[in-house]
Symmetry: C2
Subunit: 475 residues, 2 copies
């Protein structure tokens, strides 16, 4: 479904109409393109007292080719830059006249050393001076610590307070700007997360809080972080699942796409187009199975085991059977719970039990903002998707010992065939009631999955990441 | 500010207009009135396998004078009723014709024994049959277990899944019906919470998940649960604070209302009207202090210490200084952080350090949905209110040893002088974008505070309870 409003107000004619009528004009989000560099431009750096991550941050910026300038709150940055042999300069707050030309691409604030509430003033000082200098599709990333890891109540309090700041900035910034908080435990590696949140790949991910609490290793190539990895994607024939399979393959993975027999043609097409775009010499595979069938998990495990096991499982397959509860049949309830939730349990049980999912593996489950906030007419769906989140919370600690992570992505309003069939009012509300003023695309979910599936994301487990453009809708 | 739309569509004339135009007609919420019984009518009971709380639940229903009928999912209920010498009967799903007359006031589901996802079907069966039988201002309460307390991933998963069900039901039910989930740990007492969520006192609290994880004692009188308790309420001169002071006094507490010198007249008036309504023989007191002043905490502690200490602290005082961050002054940032967050830290430090807040005490801090979701133009306010939540999380475990609980309430759109000054569009959006289709009243926040402050709520700590009518807006 095309978002005609978005197209219109961004056309030369529509732009002038929108301006004269005072209509909102959502930004056309910049997404990753093969013919454009992923990173570039300049980051402005701010900090509270005793920023702990300057060295690592500088290392990442050098690696991705971003230059930097230091706000006065980040006085130590220039020393760190010099140590890395990197050019850096001072950030000067822009006058309104200078704004049109001289933009930065990212505002990064190291808040790890903030241990008291009054030190939060440094956030104010930085974003007060710098927010207007942030260009379209810019990125705000605040680096903090997990509150529970802090000694003392004031430090835990101040670290939690960062949430309110990051989410408010996301709502103020507009212009396709995202704002996210990374809670980095001591000794944890945040390069994978920082790259994702600075990249166009996170175009529709804003207002999120991600905890990174373990060391990680860099992938051999950040351009193909999944090279050599094997992935299973359920529900891969169409929509979000097809996009996940495509993006994982683009990141270097060998993908087995699974779907039901009725979708065999679409699945074959998807896998063929993936093979064209990301040749594997025929190693990408289509697997036809009905995950509702009792024998399916064993069949899946056998098929994947023959190929030597897998590294990534993406539980994407899901169905909706919407009705208010009084009109819902028992079959509508059971089938949604079974396919969206219990099938994940059955498949993981055998993949983990038989070590088909290898040590260091990644499980990414697709939940939904309905699973967080509930939804009218979706008692079955919301219950199943809340269950997915519960499963991620419960399993994450159990899988740490094997180096396996499990996380959920929770899509908001994503433009698919499903949303195209919604009544106009519901669709428009879903599209506009978020900080981006538009729906997301399947690729936005897919890129988020790929990030969580990366070898570099070993320190990220038990998280729920919404891909919702900072939807207003929440619990 | 009057909600003229709500009044209009509930007038005889407006009702017929609304019906013919298909306009939404939010229900006038039933709130606690001195001349009406708090409880009454009939509860329909449903359950999953092995419901653990039937006995306690029956005890509470008998105590509050509610009768009950058992859905077929709750087959053991009749035996329990017989043991308690209570009348009970079978719930029969109503036909559409019978609906107009034969309503129940509450749907209560014991989900504590649900340990696998397919057992969630019992929730479907019960609410499918029973939701239409629930009358206006009815109550849905689901009793579950804290997911982390369950042995095994499927049980934790299923318990978390209840969230999606309860929140969806809240969005479907309408007519002033609330829907909430109580996670009751083994050995914990939920009577205080159950009474609150069945009562008109929780009129504007829906979609909430409350964890109760410790034993408690019943207050000597459920009618005056705070009898003999002394309470401090900051920001008591007007609005939500005045309502909190009034309601705590109504529940039997002796209240010290605190506000700044500039509000002295309003504070005196409030305390006088409280004395009229809930005579204390002059023990209710007004305390004038500026909590931003460095000497204030010691002065407050001295004043309260002289009276023999206190049992309840309600951190309600707060200010807003709204501006987008680029236009905000440093003073606007600092004053909001200081008064909304740091003053709470300073006051608690001395009250706890000098044991002015007695063992078994209660701290209730007023946060905001802005502190959960962020808000445009409120970086300072949202940061301070997120900090309040962080503080509750951090302090709760530390205070358990002294029997002191700490919880936050997070108001959504509450009708006050502040909201009356909002632009029309913003005000209407705030009023309508929630499951009740209207703003809440200060008394809704106050009753929630009083419940958390009750001796019966000893098992409730570290919770954040939104008083928002299940606002759409969330993180």
């Amino acid at each position: 479904m095309k978002d005609r409003y978005l197209d219109f107000v961004n056309s030369p004619f529509g732009m002038s109409i929108a301006r004269s009528l005072g209509l909102p004009r959502p930004e056309v989000l910049r997404r990753q393109r093969a013919d454009q560099a992923e990173f570039g431009g300049m980051a402005a750096i701010g900090a509270g007292p005793a920023p702990a991550l300057f060295d690592d941050l500088m290392g990442v910026l050098c690696a991705i080719g971003m230059t930097s300038i230091a706000h006065e709150s980040a006085s130590g940055w220039l020393t760190v830059a010099a140590r890395h042999g990197a050019m850096s300069g001072r950030f000067e707050p822009r006058t309104r006249d200078a704004l049109a030309t001289d933009r930065v691409q990212a505002l990064i604030f190291d808040a790890t050393g903030i241990e008291e509430g009054h030190q939060l003033h440094a956030l104010y000082a930085f974003f007060h001076d710098a927010l207007r200098s942030l260009g379209k599709n810019g990125r705000i990333v605040v680096l903090g610590r997990p509150p529970a890891s802090r000694a003392g109540v004031p430090a835990a309090t101040a670290q939690h307070a960062l949430e309110g700041m990051v989410r408010s900035l996301g709502k103020e910034a507009r212009n396709g700007i995202t704002s996210n908080l990374l809670r980095v435990a001591e000794g944890a590696d945040f390069e994978s997360a920082l790259r994702f949140f600075l990249s166009p790949r996170s175009a529709y991910v804003s207002g999120q809080v991600v905890t990174i609490d373990a060391p990680s290793v860099a992938p051999e190539s950040w351009a193909k972080p999944l090279a050599g990895k094997r992935a299973l994607v359920t529900g891969a024939a169409r929509g979000i699942g097809a996009s996940i399979a495509t993006v994982l393959a683009g990141h270097g993975a060998i993908v087995t796409g699974l779907d039901v027999a009725a979708s065999r043609d679409a699945l074959d097409q998807t896998m063929l187009s993936i093979e064209d775009a990301s040749p594997s010499g025929g190693a990408h595979a289509a697997l036809v199975a009905d995950i509702a069938a009792p024998e399916a998990p064993a069949e899946i495990a056998a098929a994947l085991g023959q190929a030597g096991g897998i590294d990534i499982v993406v539980h994407n397959a899901g169905i909706t059977r919407d009705k208010t509860i009084a009109r819902m049949t028992g079959e509508m309830w059971d089938s949604v719970i079974d396919i969206n939730l219990l099938a994940q349990e059955r498949i993981d049980e055998i993949l983990l039990g038989q070590d088909v999912l290898r040590a260091g593996g990644r499980i990414v489950a697709v939940s939904s903002i309905s699973g967080i906030a509930g939804n009218r007419g979706q008692t079955n769906y919301a219950t199943s998707k809340a269950g997915v989140i519960g499963r991620v919370h419960a399993m994450a600690p159990l899988l740490r010992g094997r180096g396996i992570t499990i996380n959920a992505v929770a899509p908001g309003f994503i433009e698919t065939h499903m949303t195209a069939r919604m009544p106009f009012g519901v669709r428009e509300a879903g599209r506009r009631l978020n900080s981006m003023g538009q729906g997301g695309l399947p690729v936005d979910v897919a890129e988020t999955v790929a990030w969580l599936a990366s070898p570099g994301s070993a320190g990220i487990t038990g998280n729920v990441v919404r891909v919702c453009g900072q939807s207003l809708v929440g619990a």
